[in-house]
Symmetry: C2
Subunit: 413 residues, 2 copies
């Protein structure tokens, strides 16, 4: 059965450099489809849908929708909102059903990471059980690259390219004086080390960190200091990259673990991220200059350094979601498969939503080197094809010309 009705896109979770590109893919493809009567976007994901705050995408200039491809973060707004299990609290579900019926929304696209796929899955199952016909498709997104069942996730490669490029540049800066110097760089990724591992690309190019510490491996602060000492003894400089998610063998995050060790001399925990807490510790031990650098939000919004492959795949993920929906597929998430053969090629497929919703894809431990401080060639071979090519917004006044959306709200019924 082919449904006729409005479609709505929501985005949720932490933004990426290319999540707008996926939105552009959904919007531009949806605008072409005959069975899709209206194209809506929920302001701030599911929250906007619950509150009937929709933007009318038909009111936007197509040229601006095209510019979304190179505009970082989410123009329609994101949200961190977890639906309670239906059996515990059906309020949100019933409200969603009411809203969907009122606006005859028959196509629901949800763009995000694990939690968002969980949301999409719950809604899909609820609609099915309620007898309301609505196609639900998940569009993957996360710089963490930890969604199950897909070769990689839109957003990851651009963040990885930012991490690798910035580390190559930092390498030149951090080695400019002939004095001893330690640089500790913190990369995002609370549970999975995919993004931190991208630092190894810079090392592969001979201009990268000496040491990389992943959340997959128990972090030992004594070994860390010894590792740095050994590099300093040999080279006089050391660049170490740590994941924000590294934990000691008791499962404690480092700022907390170090604070316990040094309760007297530390005050506010919130002042120190992982890198700055470690820098302070190493400085105490080594006595040389130690600098902490956090890539912070920049790694997930530096669209000027996006990977062309990533921008295009993120867009296509949106397009494929709409095409699949219009073929009658539902309750699925778009996934990427790497075609066999030497040349890189991405194949777009679908998998059941619940798979991504409940499983996390971790970095294969066999890609981490013996010393547990770097990555093997297998990882480089995996990642390199994904970061190819540049693709950024046109310049206006020497600065990026990002998309400008009118954001016309749909009149509430």
């Amino acid at each position: 059965m082919i449904l006729k009705g409005a479609c709505i896109l929501g985005q949720s979770g932490g933004p990426t450099s290319v999540i707008n590109s996926s939105a552009a893919g959904v919007f531009l493809e949806a605008l072409k489809q005959e069975n899709i009567t209206e194209v809506y976007a929920g302001a701030h994901g599911i929250k906007g849908i619950l509150e009937e705050n929709f933007y009318d995408i038909r009111k936007e200039d197509v040229k601006e929708l095209e510019l979304l491809k190179n505009t970082p973060s989410s123009m329609i707004g994101s949200v961190r909102y977890k639906l309670k299990p239906l059996e515990k609290d059906p309020t949100d579900y019933q409200r969603l059903l009411e809203v969907f019926k009122k606006y005859n929304i028959r196509y629901f696209f949800y763009n995000g990471g694990n939690d968002s796929m969980d949301t999409c899955n719950k809604i899909s199952k609820f609609f099915k059980s309620s007898g309301y016909d609505c196609i639900c498709i998940g569009v993957p997104k996360t710089i963490d690259n930890d969604l199950f069942g897909t070769d990689h996730c839109p957003g990851y490669a651009s963040a990885a390219k930012y991490v690798a490029t910035s580390l190559m540049e930092l390498y030149h800066d951090a080695t400019v004086y002939d004095t001893k110097m330690v640089t500790i760089v913190e990369v995002m990724g609370r549970n999975a080390g995919w993004l931190t591992a991208a630092a190894s690309l810079a090392t592969y190019k001979g201009q990268g960190p000496d040491l990389i510490y992943l959340p997959e491996i128990d972090f030992d602060i004594k070994k860390f200091t010894e590792d740095i000492k050994a590099v300093i003894a040999k080279k006089g400089k050391c660049i170490a990259v740590v994941s924000e998610g590294i934990k000691d063998k008791n499962g404690k995050y480092i700022p907390e673990a170090v604070m316990e060790l040094k309760k007297d001399s530390f005050g506010h925990a919130q002042l120190g991220g992982t890198a700055s807490v470690l820098a302070s510790k190493v400085q105490d031990e080594l006595g040389c200059k130690v600098r902490a650098i956090e890539f912070s939000l920049l790694q997930r919004c530096a669209a000027h350094l996006a990977s062309k492959v990533d921008v295009e795949e993120a867009f296509q993920a949106g397009v494929e979601a709409v095409k699949a929906a219009c073929r009658g597929e539902t309750d699925k998430m778009v996934v990427f498969e790497r075609a066999p053969g030497k040349e890189y090629k991405c194949v777009y497929k679908l998998q059941p939503l619940e798979l991504a919703a409940n499983t996390e894809k971790t970095l294969p431990l066999e890609w981490i080197n013996e010393e547990r401080t770097g990555m093997k060639q297998e990882f480089i071979d995996y990642l390199l094809p994904l970061i190819q090519g540049d693709c950024k917004a046109p310049l206006e006044d020497g600065l990026p010309r990002f998309a400008k959306m009118k954001k016309v709200f749909v009149a509430k019924k």
Copy 2:
């Protein structure tokens, strides 16, 4: 009198995205000049010269020297080394004279900021008083833009472009949720606010900070918190940019000043830069999410975001230094003048070294707005022409292909 002999380039101070471009300008032009017999580079500035650690630039591939234009930081190494006044300690001066004579170095180029121009000036005056004929020319460099007598400094525009572009991207990220959120971004510039002021370009494009705090204006933490509260009340989000150099009315830097206010709850001062100390303070007062972001070294080494105008001018500054030297000019620094007329054009001139050595160019106070939290159009008009165009290293494996120098040391005599 036209001198015949070797030339040497040294670089000193903090690196920039384009200081290698100036080195390329010096090297490539010096290689063309008949009166310049050898082309040397001092490893780590004046320190390498004192220790006779020179690289032989004739041994380098010209193709790699060209790639220096887009390679960040200083490939030949930089140094922070201040010559003592001659009357206090003539050791270094006498050693330099000895070295210059031994290698028949007749052209000395020194590339850096105020301190480096001071070094160059001292050496120039000493050689003159010693009767040793040696041409001494300063090549300007600093992201701080605080060298006297030049319209702007090579390195500034690229850092400014990084600051403005990153803030535009952060704007999209930091406004993605519909929850209250404060983002405090810290920009380099210990004494001069030129670079922090560049944040106003993002505001000019409608995607920038609400508040900018410059080191030229006494910083009042109470007013700062009130300013943020007012923006939050109006918009729900606030992005504030602070210079690392802001000081309270007693001349104390903020981490120190805040620590005194809150001695009980704060521990290690080194853990907190200006932004993170302020973020902690604002979070206590406002209770909403507050994030601190430091652009750190990235702002001075992000060559992938360099301004084309800056890369080319930095290169030309090196070329002009050599040309002037070969015309017999000495004891001068290359300066930039803005040609009159609507279209931007840079004219290369010379000024006496001692002017740059002893004077600092501060941000004109009349370009700062009434509220002291932003810049007027005059500043935008000043800066915009300087950040035009992109110019970055070619890609190899999707990552920058930076210059590779052989760094062949000249045999010690």
